[in-house]
């Protein structure tokens, strides 16, 4: 047994896996929600402005560990990684984020109600 083997969870090439997830007889896909497009936009904007790099995004996702791939959606992981990187730049603090999340959640139980009008 090689004591130095360190294949990380995200390094998937060649791993054993089952058939492609299917829906309607085709490999699965979904239309993107507004919030997902916003996450995508934030990633593009923050990286193009130089706050962090796509490498940092990937690194943050990898460091979430294999459970993140099971329990979080693709854009869940992305917003978590965007946040991780922006926290590391000092753009805002964890407490600021936590306080704002409380405020957002109090606006209402759905994404639409929690978003500011006109946002």
């Amino acid at each position: 047994m090689d004591p130095l083997n360190n294949k990380r969870w995200h390094d998937m090439g060649g791993d054993a896996a089952g058939p492609l997830p299917m829906e309607d007889g085709r490999p699965v896909e979904h239309d993107f929600a507004l919030w997902e497009k916003r996450v995508d936009a934030l990633m593009v904007l923050m990286t193009s402005k130089g706050h962090f790099t796509v490498d940092g995004l990937r690194r943050a996702i990898e460091d979430m560990g294999p459970q993140a791939f099971e329990s979080m959606s693709y854009y869940d992981r992305w917003i978590a990684a965007v946040n991780q990187n922006m926290i590391e730049t000092g753009a805002y603090t964890l407490t600021e984020l936590g306080e704002r999340m409380e405020q957002v959640a109090r606006r209402g139980p759905t994404y639409g109600q929690a978003s500011l009008a006109g946002a």
Binding site: N6, D11, G13, G14, G56
Partner: protein, 99 residues
């Protein structure tokens, strides 16, 4: 504290190269399944910043990036569907060595 330059392979298209066998933690863009495998430089892609530094907010010193072509037989041995099918991947110069 000084920093030794990384050993970086400078190779031409057609040259045989072997992917280094290293097992560091962290953000590495050399897939595990290619480490220790020998392929051929398909093309030089030019200098790109080192993702192992960029991922941590450090300036990524440019490194030569290569597209390397492997046969499926080389990568997977007798598990390959067809031995002559190929696999191309982009590998940074500090992960390549002479075979």
């Amino acid at each position: 504290m000084g920093r030794r330059p990384l050993p970086v392979l400078d190779a031409a298209p057609g040259a045989a190269v072997r992917v280094r066998v290293l097992q560091p933690p962290g953000h590495i863009r050399t897939p595990h399944y290619l480490r220790g495998k020998t392929g051929v430089i398909e093309r030089r892609l030019g200098p790109f910043g080192n993702p192992e530094q960029l991922a941590y907010g450090l300036p990524g010193a440019p490194l030569p990036l290569y597209r390397v072509r492997f046969t499926m037989a080389e990568v997977w041995g007798n598990r390959a569907e067809r031995p002559d099918d190929t696999l191309d991947a982009e590998i940074y110069g500090h992960w390549l060595e002479a075979p």
